[in-house]
């Protein structure tokens, strides 16, 4: 690379005003024009902080101490203000609801131009052409309320691209997107990269999903330091992912189970580039030796929905004729595209909304006349958005709230809260205010606040959004543990790994109807269900074909059974 770097960190250190330690340590990093970079790392490792340094939010909006140098296009950023930087680097924030400041799509895309005093006609012309690029030109007059998560993300993208910046920065673009929309988002980003040659930086936990398209370099950040800088093939072949607690692609895990030594030569960074000649035999042998586990849950029904239909406004149906039966001690996931009605379903179960038709039974008893409070004795719900549940400024009080309202003696509260905080990985933060936590940490606070109440049935809406693999595993293992003790667990999720790994059974919603209710491995290999519910075929399926194994579904099921046995040992 002989050209001049577009981004240049030299001995760069940053410490937030309220922190006792620096968050970024002594960074040295060069990024060249036109590169496409992925940044991964555990939650709280400083990825977003790095992004803030680039786009100028540090020091413009967050106070702190900076040492060392950061140059963009050869210019020291400390001599630029945020407006000058915004002409060079465009940022798409994780929270697309907050990024969407206009009343309609058109206004939002035009926001940067309005601030630049671009005259009306030119503005409309430019908005239309950018909207076409992201396929939003027919929705210019829609309000954010009428858009799906993916459409909001596209709008944010257009709003940033309209300024013709040189660098695009995406902070967790996939969080909260359903698998198919996430895949599309990665494709859009890649197309823009190919067409315009912009420099692209993506921060993301979902490594495998980003690797759906090419990436030039992957940076691994741990504890504020860059500990690896390599391409995808080298990274998955190295032990770094495992050491830092980042999830490797599922097919790589399968290869390792089959005792294949993953090397750089195998080009395992993307499933498309994987050379299977080194591993075909090993995979077949491994597959042949898996003993199927028995799955039948014959225990009595604990929760049953019968012909449930619901609409918020009485006009547009959100759920239509939903039927299902969940058995005691089961672990089930509910999946489906953005806006399919998953969260709504959980609200009906808890009595937050009243069904228009149909009945809900708990152990054969009709729940119709039970109030929210009475249902809450049985069913605990962790809502999708943590901010909607948190009502105390301090972590400890928040988790203790439900117990205090139930008049549990204070000594017992202390015991139970401490225990649950430990499980959720929050013990180091007991006396922090909630406002100093990252999104993933806040989410864990809400899980703790419900877990502490010991419900019979636990519903978690997107429990793993924004979590790194280590915490994700800890939370899920704990759920498995309480599930074994008899608690029924329902997971609403966009994470197909989660569904495969932890829930033998999946209920699939699309357009407010139930379109499948079967084994998770079957769902993820059924092309029609996948298309209808915006899911994504698992890479294990592709792997089985590459290895010459006919029955892909059976292979996926085999993988799950093997993994479960491994954990139970």
């Amino acid at each position: 690379m002989d050209s001049q770097p577009i981004i240049e960190f030299t001995n760069f250190t940053f410490q937030y005003f309220s922190q006792a330690e620096p968050t970024l340590h002594d960074m040295n990093l060069n990024i060249y024009p036109g590169q496409k970079i992925l940044i991964v790392g555990p939650s709280g490792s400083g990825k977003s902080t790095l992004g803030h340094c680039l786009n100028g939010l540090i020091p413009f909006s967050y106070r702190g101490e900076v040492h060392g140098s950061l140059k963009i296009n050869g210019v020291e950023t400390s001599t630029l203000d945020i407006f000058q930087l915004s002409k060079v680097i465009g940022t798409v924030l994780q929270d697309s609801d907050s990024q969407f400041v206009g009343l309609t799509v058109g206004e939002d895309i035009a926001f940067a131009l309005e601030n630049d005093n671009v005259p009306g006609d030119e503005m409309h012309r430019r908005v239309r052409s950018v909207a076409q690029m992201v396929d939003m030109d027919t929705l210019l007059t829609s309000s954010p309320f009428e858009l799906s998560g993916g459409q909001k993300q596209r709008t944010s993208l257009a709003g940033v691209m309209i300024d013709d910046v040189e660098i695009l920065l995406f902070d967790e673009p996939l969080a909260n997107l359903d698998p198919a929309t996430g895949k599309t988002a990665i494709e859009i980003i890649d197309d823009i990269h190919k067409q315009s040659g912009k420099t692209i930086i993506i921060i993301e936990h979902r490594l495998e999903d980003v690797l759906h398209r090419d990436i030039d370099r992957i940076l691994v950040i741990d504890d504020g330091r860059i500990i690896a800088d390599m391409d995808a093939h080298a990274l998955v072949a190295s032990p770094i992912l495992k050491e830092t607690g980042i999830r490797e692609p599922l097919y790589v895990t399968a290869l390792k189970y089959a005792e294949v030594k993953v090397t750089e030569e195998m080009r395992a960074g993307h499933i498309e580039t994987l050379k299977t000649e080194f591993s075909r035999d090993a995979l077949q042998t491994w597959y042949g030796h898996i003993q199927p586990a028995d799955h039948l849950n014959t225990r009595p029904s604990i929760l049953k929905m019968e012909d449930i239909s619901f609409s918020y406004d009485g006009i547009r149906p959100v759920l239509t004729d939903i039927n299902f039966d969940i058995h005691e001690g089961e672990m089930v996931s509910i999946v489906g595209k953005n806006g399919a009605g998953k969260s709504t379903l959980s609200k009906l179960l808890c009595g937050f909304e009243k069904e228009d038709r149909g009945r809900i039974f708990y152990r054969g008893k009709d729940l119709r006349d039970k109030s929210i409070k009475e249902r809450a004795e049985i069913i605990g719900l962790v809502m999708q958005n943590p901010n909607q549940m948190i009502s105390n400024p301090m972590i400890y009080d928040e988790v203790a709230l439900g117990l205090r309202l139930r008049q549990v003696p204070e000594e017992e509260i202390t015991l139970r809260v401490d225990k649950v905080l430990k499980i959720c990985g929050l013990a180091p933060f007991v006396d922090w205010p909630i406002s100093a936590l990252s999104y993933g940490q806040k989410k864990r606070v809400t899980i703790a606040a419900i877990l502490v109440l010991d419900p019979k049935i636990l519903i978690l809406d997107e429990p793993t959004a924004g979590q790194d693999f280590r915490h994700y595993t800890e939370i899920m293992e704990f759920l498995v543990k309480i599930n074994k003790l008899g608690v029924t667990v329902i997971l609403i999720t966009h994470d197909m790994h989660l569904m495969l790994e932890y829930t033998p059974r999946a209920i699939v919603l699309a357009g407010g109807r139930k379109i499948a209710d079967t084994a998770a491995s079957v769902v993820l290999t059924d092309a029609q269900v996948i298309a209808e519910a915006n899911l994504k075929e698992t890479s294990l399926f592709a792997l089985s074909h590459m290895a010459g194994i006919e029955d892909g579904t059976q292979f996926v099921q085999g993988f799950i059974d093997y993994e479960r046995r491994l954990k139970n040992r």
Binding site: F60, S61, V101, L103, A112, N115, G120, F352
Partner: protein, 278 residues
């Protein structure tokens, strides 16, 4: 508590009123309301009221859309009338300078002056309402901010209004969700609870709403700064439109009505009041 109520039931009908630009409608609204607020002449008030009801008809507003507002307004006007009578039963006499008594209740004399003053006041209040309704129901909220900026309001204040309209539905939904999730944690919100507990418990809903909003302020203002908000002294608006012939016509008509009202007061009544008693 009807949380499903829409903010503006802005309807997308295509009428001459809807086609006017937001800026025009805002200026006309201000002209006409100032006219009726300034004048205490029942003839002027009635004329404006008839005119605005006509406009409501033109803009195809159905009664069902405004029924709730009408009920609120009627309750308000009646209460106001009763209270102000008992507080100052002779205020009319003071204003008009004469006293024509026609009945007596509870030893308070009823005069034509008082009756006339109160009737005038009732119509004065009532006549503003249809104007407001037309404005709310035919103006695209997107155009509102640019219109405010158009009449000279600082663009930062105009953006604040736009943000209010943008985030009100979100906040309404958050409030509802917090309300439910707190109940699920065991919070008693029904009227069974004692007064003080109810007060404390409603705070338990309001506090998370406010604090999550404060967090959001940070994120949203970052997003706006990153896209260059407030770097210039002025800004343009995606939704502002050029004024058409109809816009000019509407502006002239409402301007004339305002001037006429002032003229009636200055030259005919020689005061803000129309006095039929001398």
């Amino acid at each position: 508590m009807n949380m499903k109520m829409k903010l503006f039931s802005y309807n997308l009908a295509d009428t001459p009123i809807h086609r006017l630009s937001g800026l025009t409608k805002l200026i006309c609204f201000l002209f006409l309301t100032f006219a009726v607020m300034y004048s205490y002449d029942i003839r002027v008030t009635l004329a404006v009221m008839v005119f605005s009801i006509l406009l409501m008809w033109v803009s195809k507003i159905r009664f069902s859309q405004v029924r709730l507002m009408v009920i609120y307004v009627l309750i308000f006007i009646v209460t106001n009338a009763v209270i102000s009578f008992f507080f100052s039963p002779e205020y009319g006499t003071t204003i008009y300078g004469t006293s024509h008594e026609f009945a007596k209740i509870f030893g308070i004399s009823l005069t034509y002056e008082q009756l006339f003053y109160q009737v005038t006041k009732m119509f004065k209040y009532a006549s503003v309402i249809p104007l407001g309704m037309i404005f709310l129901l035919t103006t695209n909220p997107s155009e509102f901010a640019s219109s405010l900026n158009g009449i000279g309001v600082n663009y930062k204040a105009a953006i604040a209004v736009a943000l209010t309209l943008r985030y009100f539905p979100d906040i309404q939904r958050d409030y509802h969700d917090i309300y439910l999730s707190q109940q699920a944690r065991g919070l008693e919100l029904s009227s069974k609870a004692k007064f003080f507990d109810r007060f404390k418990n409603s705070l338990l809903i309001v506090i998370p709403l406010i604090f999550s909003t404060l967090d959001r302020v940070e994120v949203i203002s970052n997003a706006m700064d990153l896209r260059g908000f407030s770097k210039n002294k002025t800004r343009t608006w995606y939704t502002s439109r050029k004024l058409s012939r109809q816009d000019v016509l509407a502006l002239v008509v409402s301007g004339l009505i305002f001037i006429a009202t002032v003229c009636v007061s200055v030259f005919i009544n020689q005061s803000r009041f129309y006095n039929p008693f001398i």
